[in-house]
Amino acid sequence: MELAIGLILMGCAIGAGLALIAGIGPGIGEGNAVSKACEAIGRQPECKGEVTSTMLMGCAIAETTGLYGLVVGILLIFYAPNAFVNILLNAIH
């Protein structure tokens, strides 16, 4: 019993860690976006405001996939262990 619960907790923790690998993609993507925005501002300093707001907008959208990973990780840490243990207990009884 303890072993089963321990396995569930271990699986949840490892899964949460794996889910947060999704943060790599948005990191690269946002870095690209910001570097291009810097180039654009360097070329045309007069449209700095517009470029900045567009860049923030694009960064927010690029971030979405990373946030999906974050939400999955948070669910795995805070919600999943209870739910899985309950499923296990229901299956035993």
């Binding site: 927010a60 971030e63 979405t64 946030l67 939400v71």
Partner: protein
């Protein structure tokens, strides 16, 4: 004459004070509730919204939680703040608060007009409300209160509202045009349906994930700094051994980014995406074409 203006100014001042008091009262109310009901902890735990009470309902119990109370308090506070700003408004601006109110309205109008076009200019109160509510909900974290935007239920509700608006404006061109929109490349129809429903989900997750991740990182930093100060000061006797030396001031720097900057940025992005999705889903040319067609039919009938 002189007497009547004197009376008016007194009344004006009393109303002013009342409105300001009603603006601040919800904040005081939230802090009081927080002090009274939050269970004791050392402040470095990750917890969800506190549930005050549940109302039994036929399908599922209605839960009244901290985040709901807080978001309603922010709404009340913002309502009275706007009443305060527009109190004693004159045709020719003479008070500072009227300049501020006009500046806010002008900026929102400009934003809406620039992003949505002149057809949607009636949207600026809605966009302004979303901006204010979202920004001030996130800024509640500065008072040490639970930010309603770090609860998926609150932000999900807003996203659902936006989804209804998007669908409403897509339906303005008729159900045939709405369904035909899914078959734009005919083979991708299932993906288009999925992406239609992914819009509100991603909007809710984006806002909630950003605010929540900020608070989680703040808590992790607090734990790390507490551990560091324990290592450094642990050998001291008595109360001094638990003194959180490094937790003074250092988390505030992170709070400027995660609470102030990120909260305001997410409010702006949520409002921006609302505008873009609503105006993007609505095809103005098709709407005007249908309108002209209907008008021509009506004219034919009467003639």
């Amino acid at each position: 004459m002189n007497d009547s203006t004197q009376v008016k100014t007194v009344r004006f001042r009393v109303t002013d004070a009342l409105l300001l008091a009603l603006t601040l009262l919800p904040v005081v109310f939230m802090i009081t509730l927080n002090v009274l009901f939050t269970p004791e902890s050392n402040g470095i735990e990750i917890e969800g919204a506190l549930i005050y009470f549940t109302i039994p309902m036929p399908l599922q119990d209605l839960i009244i939680s901290e985040s709901q109370i807080h978001s309603w308090c922010v709404m009340v506070s913002l309502l009275f703040f706007s009443l305060y700003l527009t109190h004693g408004i004159a045709e020719k601006p003479c008070t500072r608060r009227q300049y501020l109110a006009e500046w806010m309205v002008e900026q929102t109008d400009k934003l809406v007009k620039g992003n949505m076009g002149p057809f949607f200019k009636g949207f600026s109160p809605f966009v302004g409300a979303i901006l204010g509510l979202s920004a001030f909900s996130s800024l509640l974290a500065l008072f040490g209160l639970y930010a309603p935007t770090s609860d998926i239920n609150i932000v999900g509700g807003w996203a659902l509202l936006v989804f209804i608006l998007i669908t409403y404006y897509k339906f303005k061109c008729g159900p045939v045009h709405y369904i035909a929109g899914f078959f734009d490349p005919p083979l991708l129809a299932p993906l288009n349906v999925i992406s239609e429903f992914a819009t509100p989900v991603s909007m809710a997750f984006r806002h909630y994930g950003n605010v929540l991740s900020g608070s989680v990182i703040s808590v992790l930093l607090a734990v790390a700094l507490q551990g560091l100060s324990d290592i450094l000061l642990g050998w001291l006797p008595g109360v001094l051994s638990g003194f959180p030396l490094f937790r003074i001031g250092i988390p505030a720097v992170l709070s400027i980014y995660f609470d102030v900057f990120s909260g305001c940025l997410q409010a702006f992005i949520f409002a921006m995406l609302t505008m873009l999705y609503v105006s993007g889903g609505f095809s103005y040319d098709e709407y005007m074409r249908r309108k002209a067609k209907r008008a021509a039919k009506k004219r034919e009938k009467t003639a």
